[in-house]
Amino acid sequence: DTAVSQTPKYLVTQMGNDKSIKCEQNLGHDTMYWYKQDSKKFLKIMFSYNNKELIINETVPNRFSPKSPDKAHLNLHINSLELGDSAVYFCASSLSGSDEQYFGPGTRLTVT
């Protein structure tokens, strides 16, 4: 059983389109995150949700909008995609009071 899963694994789209990435965790965690890994493999946090509430928003453009329908899901919607959005996006989760974060397999987004 996959602990943190993401769909799709690959996403190729054109500039200007809108796309969504879905994340689900079955670990019983209450905190979920989105990270962006750029072409140089640098990992940077984008958002964090705790019990469906946004707690971290790291100067990410407004075109990115996370949504958490429940504690087990955190989706990322991206409007008006730009070339610079091409990256691998990772979802992660943790339990309140624990610093251990568990990452999903990633979604490779390519904007052409």
Binding site: V4, K41, F42, I45, E100, P105, G106
Partner: protein, 113 residues
């Protein structure tokens, strides 16, 4: 602002050798220092972590050494194996940061058979 600096960028080790990756941090509020291992096409996986109240933590072939006064910590992989070939990331977080992990730049480790 790069708060966690990692070196080297890449490392080649022979099978059975010791791999050492170093990290330095600036934020003295950091109180949790994990290392993640990432294989190509996979997500980062938590490998081992340490808190500042101890100077060393060992799990199998993996050891973290921590120097609070120097604000440095390192990962030692003993008896390195080809299966250890991956990208390693150090990271840090503070208890007040709601779980925000600040990552180092990553080290690509290659272990030759």
């Amino acid at each position: 602002q790069q708060q966690v600096k990692q070196s080297p960028q890449s490392l080649i080790v022979q099978k059975g050798g010791i791999s050492i990756i170093n990290c330095a941090y600036e934020n003295t509020a950091f109180d949790y220092f994990p290392w993640y291992q990432q294989f190509p096409g996979k997500g980062p996986a938590l490998l081992i972590a340490i808190r500042p109240d101890v100077s060393e933590k060992k799990e199998g072939r993996f050891t973290i050494s921590f120097n609070k006064s120097a604000k440095q910590f390192s990962l030692h992989i003993m008896d390195s194996q080809p299966g250890d070939s991956a990208t390693y990331f150090c990271a840090a977080t503070a208890g007040t940061s709601y779980g925000k992990l600040t990552f180092g730049q990553g080290t690509i480790l290659t272990v030759h058979p």
